[in-house]
C-alpha cells in the first residue's frame, strides 16, 4: 500500500518533467519561421493533460494525508519478532557448532593421529 502511493508520486515526478518538456517544445516550435500546427496541438494537449493530472494526483495525496495524519510519532516496531528470530538462528548455529565438534571427536576416535 505504501509502495503504491510512493510509486504514484514518482509517476507525478515524470509528469512534471513531461510538462516542462512540452512547454520547451512549444516555445521551440514557435521560434521557427514556419510552425507545424499539428505538432503544436499535440504538444499543447499533452501539456494540458499532464498539468491536470499532476494537480489531481497531488491534491488526492494531500487529501489522503489530511485524513490519516495524526501528528503523533509511530510507536510500532518489529524489535520483539526480530529478537526472537535472532535467538532461533543463534540456537541453530549453536546446534551446528556442537554437532561439528561431535563429528570431529568421532573422527578422532575412529582415526586417531599417530
Amino acid at each position: 500500500m505504501a509502495n503504491d502511493r510512493l510509486r504514484a508520486l514518482e509517476e507525478v515526478e515524470n509528469q512534471i518533467a513531461t510538462i516542462l518538456q512540452c512547454a520547451g517544445n512549444i516555445v521551440l516550435e514557435l521560434s521557427k519561421d514556419k510552425h507545424n500546427a499539428s505538432f503544436l496541438d499535440r504538444q499543447l494537449s499533452q501539456f494540458t493533460g499532464s498539468v491536470n493530472r499532476v494537480e489531481t494526483d497531488l491534491s488526492s495525496q494531500i487529501r489522503y494525508l489530511t485524513q490519516v495524519a495524526t501528528g503523533q510519532p509511530h510507536d510500532g516496531s518489529t524489535y520483539s519478532a526480530r529478537k526472537d528470530c535472532q535467538m532461533a538462528l543463534n540456537r541453530a548455529e549453536y546446534a551446528r557448532v556442537k554437532l561439528g565438534e561431535l563429528g570431529r571427536t568421532c573422527e578422532l576416535m575412529l582415526d586417531p593421529q599417530p
Partner: protein, 204 residues
C-alpha cells in the same frame, strides 16, 4: 469534512502549505506559458521601435521561461516533501509493513525451531540405539547411578503396562527397582542419557 479529526496545528498548517504551493506552482506554469504564447504573436504596430520591442519580448520570454522552470522545480520539491510526509505519517501503510515483517520473522523462527526439533528427535533415536549398544557391551562402566536412556525407556514401558515383568530392567542397581516410578522420579541421583556423576566402580 465532518469526520476530520483535529490535527495539531503544525501538521494542519503544513498540509495547507502544501496545497497552496501546489496551486501557486500550477498557476505559475500555466500563466507564464500563456504569456509566452501571447508574446510570440507578431504585432504590426508597436509603440517603440521594432528592435526595442523585439529586445523587450526576448527578455520577457527569458524571464517567463525561467519562471516555468522555477515552478517545475518547486513542484518537484513539493513531491519530495509529500513522499517524506507519507513515509512518516501514513500509519495504515506503516502498520501493514510492520505486521508483514513480523509475520515473516515469526515464520522464519517457527521453521528454524521445527527443524531443530526434528533434529533433536533424530539424534535422540540414534542416542538410544548407541546407548543400548554401549551399555550392553563389556566396555560399559555403568555403576547403577546413571540410568541409560534405553534402560529408562524400558522401565517406563514396564511401569506403564499392568503386568509388571519382574525380570525387566535388570541392572546392577536392581535393589531400587522395587520402589516403582515414584521413587524413580524423586530420586535425584538418577540421570538420563548417561549424564551425571560417574563413580568408578568395578563391574563383574
Amino acid at each position: 469534512m465532518a469526520n476530520q479529526r483535529a490535527l495539531p496545528q503544525s501538521k494542519e498548517s503544513l498540509l495547507q502549505n502544501y496545497n497552496k504551493r501546489l496551486k501557486d506552482d500550477i498557476r505559475s506554469i500555466l500563466d507564464n506559458l500563456t504569456e509566452i504564447i501571447k508574446t510570440a504573436k507578431v504585432e504590426e504596430e508597436t509603440q517603440v521601435s521594432r528592435a526595442t520591442q523585439a529586445e523587450q519580448d526576448h527578455y520577457e520570454m527569458h524571464v517567463r521561461a525561467a519562471n516555468i522552470v522555477r515552478a517545475g522545480e518547486s513542484l518537484m520539491k513539493l513531491v519530495s516533501d509529500l513522499k517524506q510526509f507519507l513515509i512518516l505519517n501514513d500509519f495504515p501503510s506503516v502498520n501493514e509493513a510492520i505486521s508483514l515483517q513480523n509475520q515473516q520473522l515469526r515464520s522464519l523462527q517457527d521453521e528454524c525451531d521445527k527443524k531443530l526439533t526434528s533434529l533433536r528427535d533424530e539424534i535422540a533415536i540414534d542416542l538410544y540405539e548407541l546407548e543400548e549398544e554401549y551399555y550392553s557391551s563389556s566396555y560399559s562402566q555403568w555403576d547403577g547411578t546413571d540410568l541409560p536412556l534405553c534402560e529408562a525407556y524400558r522401565r517406563r514401558d514396564s511401569w506403564a503396562s499392568p503386568d509388571r515383568d519382574p525380570t525387566f530392567g535388570s541392572a546392577p542397581g536392581g535393589t531400587e527397582d522395587a520402589d516403582g516410578p515414584d521413587s524413580r522420579e524423586t530420586t535425584p541421583k538418577h540421570h538420563l542419557n548417561g549424564h551425571g556423576t560417574t563413580t568408578s566402580t568395578d563391574k563383574p
